[in-house]
C-alpha cells in the first residue's frame, strides 16, 4: 500500500515538474533557444507573487492573475530586446547570455530579498487532503497536477486551433519564409517567450505554495525541467508531462528508500533514459 501511495505522490509531483518544463519546451520548440535562466525566472515569479500578496493583501491565486500579464510583458521584452539578438547559427551567444542572466537574476533576488527562505501563505483549502481509494493525497498536489494538464491542453489548443499557433509552427519551421507570410519572427519569438513566462508564473505559484524557496533554488528547477523535456522528447508537450511524471516518480521512490537519494534518483533515472532512448520517449518526426 505504501508503494501505491509513493507512486501517486510521484505522479502528482510530476505535474509540478511538467509546469516547470512547459515554458522551456515551448520556447525551445519555437526558436531552438534553451533559456538557462528559466529556473531563476520561476523563482523570480514566486517573489513577484509574494510581493503582491504582501503589499496588496491578496490571496496568492488572485496575485497570480496580476502576475501573469506582468510576466508576459517581462518575457516579451526580454526576448524582443535581449534574446532575439543572440539567435543565429552560433550556439554560444544564447547559452552564455542566458547563463549570465541566470547569475544576474539570482544575485538581484539575493540583493532584494536576502537569502532567507520564503513561502507563500497557505489556507485551509490548500493544506487539506482528500482520500482517493486507498491513498490520501493533498489538495495542493492535485491542484498542481490539474493545472499542468490545463496548461498543456491550453497550449495544444493554441498551437493547433488558432492563427497565432499556426504562426508559431510556421516560424519554427522556417522564419524567413514565415516573414513572407507577413509574420514578424521577432514578435512571434517575443510572444512565445511572453507566453512561456505566463506558464512560469503558474509554476511559480505552486513552487511557492508547496515549499520554501530562496534565490538559490532556480538552477535545480531548471535541471528538473530540462530532464522532463529531454525524457519526453524535444518539443512534445504531452511528452514533457510524461517526462515530468517520470522524474517525479523516480524522486519519490528514491526518497522512500533513503531520503538523501531523492534528487539523485531523479538524475539517475534521467541518465538511464538518455542511455536507452537518446531522443526521448516521444521524439518529433522532423528535426
Amino acid at each position: 500500500m505504501i508503494w501505491i501511495d509513493t507512486l501517486v505522490q510521484g505522479v502528482l509531483l510530476g505535474g509540478l515538474y511538467a509546469l516547470f518544463a512547459a515554458g522551456l519546451s515551448l520556447v525551445f520548440g519555437i526558436m531552438r533557444l534553451v533559456n538557462l535562466a528559466h529556473g531563476d525566472l520561476i523563482v523570480m515569479g514566486a517573489y513577484l507573487i509574494l510581493v503582491l500578496v504582501t503589499l496588496l493583501g491578496l490571496s496568492p491565486f488572485v496575485a497570480l492573475l496580476i502576475a501573469m500579464p506582468l510576466m508576459f510583458a517581462l518575457g516579451w521584452g526580454l526576448q524582443k530586446f535581449l534574446l532575439n539578438r543572440t539567435l543565429g547559427d552560433d550556439i554560444l551567444p544564447p547559452l552564455l547570455v542566458t547563463f549570465g542572466l541566470s547569475i544576474v537574476l539570482q544575485n538581484a533576488l539575493l540583493e532584494g530579498f536576502s537569502a532567507d527562505s520564503q513561502r507563500l501563505p497557505t489556507d485551509a483549502l490548500t493544506t487539506a487532503s482528500v482520500s482517493l481509494g486507498p491513498v490520501t493525497v493533498g489538495v495542493m498536489p492535485l491542484l498542481t497536477f490539474a493545472s499542468a494538464i490545463v496548461v498543456i491542453v491550453g497550449l495544444n489548443q493554441l498551437f493547433y486551433r488558432t492563427s497565432l499557433g499556426r504562426a508559431f509552427r510556421a516560424t519554427s519551421d522556417d522564419a524567413m519564409t514565415a516573414s513572407l507570410m507577413g509574420i514578424k519572427p521577432s514578435n512571434i519569438f517575443a510572444t512565445a517567450t511572453g507566453l512561456a513566462l505566463v506558464i512560469v508564473a503558474i509554476a511559480a505559484l505552486y513552487l511557492g505554495l508547496r515549499a520554501n524557496f530562496d534565490p538559490s533554488v532556480g538552477p535545480a528547477r531548471l535541471i528538473y525541467a530540462f530532464e522532463a523535456v529531454i525524457i519526453g522528447g524535444l518539443g512534445s508537450l504531452w511528452g514533457t508531462l510524461i517526462g515530468g511524471i517520470f522524474i517525479g516518480v523516480a524522486q519519490t521512490v528514491g526518497a522512500a528508500i533513503n531520503p538523501e537519494w531523492q534528487i539523485l534518483s531523479g538524475h539517475l533515472a534521467f541518465l538511464a533514459v538518455l542511455l536507452v532512448r537518446p531522443r526521448g520517449l516521444f521524439p518529433r518526426a522532423h528535426d
Partner: protein, 352 residues
C-alpha cells in the same frame, strides 16, 4: 625567391617570446620579493587561469559548451583528499591522482553528454556534475555532506615544504603557500604551452575545422567524434589537476564547495567571455580583469556577481570576441599566433 614559407610566427610573437621569458623568470622568483597575500592572490589567478584555458579549449575551440566543469574540479579535489586520507599519500603526488580521477569520470560523462546537442549538452554536463556531487556527499569516510579537512600531519610534512622553509627562511604555512604557488605556475605554463602546441599541430587545425563546420570537416577526413573526445578528456584531466591543487591549498573540502557551479564554472565562463573566447590571450586578459573587479567590488557582496553577469552579457552582445578580440582587431596584435600564413613566392607580389 619563389618558394613559399609557411609561418605562424609574427613579430609580436617574437617579442612575446622574449618578454614572456622575462615574465616567467620574474614569476618564478616572485616569492623572493612578494608578501604572502600576493602569493595567495597569484595562486588564485593562476588556478582560475588554468580552469579558464581548459574551458576555452572546450567551448572556444571545440564548440563544446560545458556547464559541468565543476564535476572535474570536485572529483580532482576528492581524489586528492581520498589519496591522502585513505591511502596515506603525500598531497603533492596526489595531485596527479586528481587528474587521473577526473579523466576516469570524464569517460562516462562524455558518453552520456555527447548524446545531447548544443544547449542540451551544456545542461547535460551540469546534471552529471550534480550526480557526482550527490554521490560524493554519500561518502561518509570523506565527511559526507559536511566535508572534511586534510590531516595536519599530511600538510605539515608535504614534499618540498621543508626545502622551501630552509631555502627562503619562511614559516611552514608560508612555505605551503609558496609550494602551491609554484605548482600553480607550473600548471598554468604547461597548460598554455600545451594548448598552444596542440593548436599549432595538425590536430589543432582539425579542431578548428570541426568547430567551424562539422560536416565539412568530416568530408575532408577529420574524425569529428575523436576530436571531441580528445578535447573533452584533455580538458577534464587539466581541470582535475587544477581542482586537486586548489583543494590541496584550501586543505578543507565539502561537496557543495568542490562542485560549486558558480565558483568553478560561472566565474570561468565569465573570465573567458570577457577576455575573449577562442583565443589563448583572452582567458589571460580575462582573469586579470576578473581579479581586478573582484578586488574592487569585493565589499559589495552580490552586486559583484550581478555586475560580472551584466558585463558578460554586454560583451557577448556587443563584442562577442571579448576584450582581447577588440584589441586584436584594432591593432592586429597576436601574442600566440595560430593562423598559418604563406610568405614569399608569388602571393606577396599579388598583394602589391
Amino acid at each position: 625567391m619563389n618558394t613559399y614559407v609557411v609561418e605562424t610566427r609574427t613579430r609580436a610573437s617574437n617579442v612575446t617570446a622574449i618578454l614572456g621569458t622575462a615574465l616567467v623568470i620574474a614569476l618564478i622568483l616572485l616569492p623572493l620579493y612578494a608578501g604572502r597575500s600576493t602569493i595567495q592572490d597569484m595562486f588564485f589567478i593562476l588556478t582560475m587561469l588554468v580552469l579558464a584555458q581548459f574551458w576555452n579549449l572546450l567551448a572556444g575551440y571545440g564548440g563544446l559548451v560545458s556547464i559541468g566543469q565543476q564535476a572535474f574540479v570536485g572529483m580532482g579535489a576528492y581524489a586528492l583528499f581520498g589519496g591522502v586520507i585513505l591511502a596515506g599519500m603525500d598531497p603533492v603526488p596526489a595531485i596527479l591522482l586528481s587528474g587521473v580521477a577526473a579523466l576516469v569520470i570524464a569517460i562516462p560523462t562524455a558518453f552520456f553528454a555527447f548524446r545531447l546537442q548544443g544547449a542540451y549538452f551544456a545542461i547535460g554536463t551540469w546534471v552529471i556534475a550534480e550526480v557526482f556531487r550527490l554521490l560524493l556527499a554519500q561518502w561518509k569516510t570523506l565527511g559526507g555532506g559536511t566535508g572534511t579537512s586534510l590531516p595536519r600531519s599530511a600538510t605539515k610534512d608535504m614534499w618540498f615544504v621543508d626545502a622551501i622553509k630552509t631555502l627562503l627562511d619562511v614559516k611552514t604555512s608560508a612555505a605551503r603557500d609558496i609550494l602551491a604557488y609554484w605548482l600553480a605556475l607550473l600548471l598554468a605554463l604547461a597548460t598554455i604551452g600545451g594548448i598552444y602546441w596542440l593548436l599549432r599541430t595538425r590536430r589543432g587545425l582539425a579542431l578548428a575545422a570541426v568547430r567551424d563546420n562539422t560536416e565539412a570537416a568530416k568530408s575532408v577526413g577529420v574524425d569529428a567524434d575523436r576530436m571531441k573526445w580528445m578535447v573533452f578528456l584533455t580538458s577534464a584531466f587539466g581541470t582535475g589537476l587544477a581542482g586537486g591543487l586548489i583543494y590541496m591549498q584550501k586543505a578543507r573540502i565539502s561537496p557543495d564547495a568542490a562542485f560549486s557551479v558558480t565558483d568553478w564554472t560561472a566565474y570561468v565562463i565569465f573570465i573567458v567571455v570577457i577576455g575573449g573566447i577562442g583565443t589563448i590571450e583572452g582567458p589571460i586578459l580575462g582573469v586579470l580583469i576578473f581579479f581586478a573587479l573582484q578586488s574592487l567590488l569585493a565589499d559589495f557582496g552580490s552586486w559583484y556577481l550581478l555586475s560580472l553577469g551584466v558585463l558578460a552579457i554586454a560583451i557577448m552582445l556587443i563584442a562577442p570576441r571579448g576584450i582581447w578580440g577588440l584589441i586584436s582587431e584594432r591593432t592586429g596584435l597576436q601574442l600566440f599566433p595560430i593562423r598559418r600564413r604563406l610568405k614569399g613566392g608569388q602571393l606577396d607580389n599579388l598583394e602589391d
